[in-house]
Amino acid sequence: MAYEVNGSTVEHDEEGYITNLADWTKELADVIAETEEIDMNEEHWAVVNFLREYYDEYQIAPAVRVLIKAIKKEMGPEKGNNKYMYELFPYGPAKQACKIAGLPKPTGCV
């Protein structure tokens, strides 16, 4: 299974998470988002960029409340809440946004 980006292919697993995290590009993010039926706008990108920066620094995805706090800081309280996150990523920010951002699949431990 693979995504096609500009003529080349990027492998992914059953659920659409990319196999090699190093394969991630912005173009790929758009392709993944498309299969998730998400039309990436500036607000989606703010979340995706935050996730990538956070992962880069700490080697884990942030807790959802950390993500929401950061978005609140950046985009104001009307957007820094759970409801808004789910409007952006209807199937949940932890799953969908992480997939688009090219982070590892959450192991679903809780």
């Binding site: 059953e14 192991t107 431990c109 809780v110």
Partner: protein, 130 residues
């Protein structure tokens, strides 16, 4: 008294799974409850139904399966640790696109939250590892 148990080493290499088994049996005989045993680190390997020890040795997985059935113990295998080590139930095998599963009867795969929950809900927690 409710006693929770953690097994954090694999079978046969370490004695941990054996000691834990004898401990749990003694606890039940002593009138205590052991609602759950949580398998973590290499302890998840206890749950494979594919092990075939020689006939003159104990069968660690069978022992646990039988004990769990008899006393209604929840044997939980940590999903994160299990995935690393190639232990999958049917559900996970499908989800991960693998062609086989290997979890024995009486064990179930679930999250680390079950360990924390066990710590919250029991009166004592005892870890067997190495």
């Amino acid at each position: 008294m409710k006693i929770g148990v953690v097994v954090s080493e694999g079978p046969y290499t370490h004695q941990a799974a054996d000691t834990a088994y004898h401990f749990v049996k003694a606890a039940l005989d002593g009138g205590h409850e052991v609602p759950r045993v949580f398998f973590y680190h290499d302890g998840v390997n206890v749950s494979t139904r594919l092990s075939v020890p020689p006939q003159d040795e104990r069968h660690i997985q069978n022992n646990w399966t039988n004990l769990a059935k008899e006393h209604d113990i929840d044997l939980v295998v940590c999903i994160a640790a299990a995935q690393r080590r190639g232990l999958l139930d049917e559900n996970e095998a499908n989800r991960q696109g693998k062609d086989a599963n290997n979890i024995a009867d009486g064990f179930r795969i679930s999250g680390l939250g079950q360990l924390i929950e066990m710590g919250i809900q029991t009166d004592r927690l005892v870890t067997f590892g190495d």
